[in-house]
Amino acid sequence: SVSGCGLLGGSEDEDSGNAQVEKSKINVSVQGTIDLSAFYLAREQGYFADEGLKVNPIKVDSADIGFNKLNAGEVDVIYSGYTGFFSHQAAGDMDLKLIADASSAAPKSNAIMVPKNSPLEEPKDLEGKTVGVTPPDTLADILTKAWAEANDVDLDKVDWQPGGFSTSQKGLGKGIDAAFFPDPFIAMNQQQMGAESRWDPMTGPLENLPMAGYGATADFAKENPKTVAAFQRAMAKASDEAETADRTKVIDPILVEHIGLPEDLAPMTTLLTFESSLDPERIQRVPDLMVDRGALDKKIDVEDMIVPPDTGEDDSAK
């Protein structure tokens, strides 16, 4: 086939593993979100290399594309918002395993933003207004609506605009009265248009909600247990380090270098909480919320989807 042609940029031959892992070179589908800084930290610090892994990030615009790539075998591991994993698991197109945690909501890390000088004061004011979210039953849509309902907003009276962050951003103030944003969009909107974060939706029932994690197909996890474990160890180490690291010295440079944020913008972002635990109980909140909101039609047991982290030297203790 034509993909053999080097100039066209076909994938090179897969390597086989080494002594430490079954598969040493793994492709990871990543996005442009800032909680990936732990992942890049692991790469920069050589935590992956220490485990015998060569990790190759593949940037995608949306998790949908990442899941397609996972299904096609183009990537081995995927970073995604948790809702994506559960949608796919419920649909049954793939049997997925969660192999590492990434982040949970921190105060101010997500916001319902309004344009400069917006008259909106109370969540109730959103009724009759246009609110930017993501397509129905995807993360921002679920979160915003859950938050709005918790604040007594009549969802039917709101005109939901499901274009996604990038669309909301361009429409804010021009047809869109308020919109859900994660960072770095929050910082960018503040900086460029003077938009304001009016409400933090990740409060009340949504406080500290797990946001994103890493997963792989069940087959991959089964065939490459050592590889998965190696990935888990490296990510756990990096996540813990990122959570405590000096923001300006460690994280911001990564945001600039790898996430591609402008230098002046990086310090303005609010980080999520980096998570390393992959705790099924915590994560269970997400599919439960999805069932609540009608985004899933059956309950999903997170416990079954998790590949428990192999904590190395604690192996015997477990």
Binding site: C5, D64, N68
Partner: protein
Amino acid sequence: MLKFAKGLTGLLGFFLLWEITVQAGVLPDYWVPPASEVTTTFVSLLGDAEFLRGVVATLLAWLIALGVAIGIGVPAGLVLGSVPALQSAARALIEFLRPIPAVALIPLVMVTIGSGPDAKITLAVYAAVWPILFNTIYAFGEIDPVLLDSARATGANRRQSLTWVALPHAAPFIFTGIRVAASIALIAVISVEYVAASEIGLGRYILEGGMNNGHLDQVMAGTVLAGLAGWAINSALVGSGRRLFRWADTEERAAR
């Protein structure tokens, strides 16, 4: 050469307009970077080996796609144009498939053939084959029956009249179809790279720039490069077309 200068004037005029609209604040410069900024980025990119490799990958995929599209579109168009029975049978499927957007098919293509070069070439062929096919069929409909009769009367069989009469007659218009297809194929390749996040290519580069809306100058520079590439391709096609279809050149005929 004079023509080239005139064409360049038109293009520069457009860039100037762009610069002025942005500078005058009609368009916010954080969404639409001014032409000058894009040009600077563009120039610096030309020295970026990684970027150039991406461009080469894109252009190569485009070239293959266009070649395949021509190879399918022209013969199919000739056959469909000359055999009405076949045309009505094929038309149903063609007309049904044609409006189904490649974008909608991307997930399926990714699952079946991945997001590598095969995928972008497949989808680009799918998008580019129609202009060629259509223009061929239409050019065929326009042919003077006397010409076809003349060929048949000389003992040419169906295939021979197709290749020696219908094809040359239709050639200039098919050629227009190829020109349309060339840019559609380029757009398709870049779009697939962009949407399906291919490993390498111009579209991939634009995607990275556009992620989080961080580097719109990069997006625009990539877009401008796509446009320039399309222009270069078109000029090459027009140049060879003028040589190929001298007889059809109305200007030549008018040069009394």
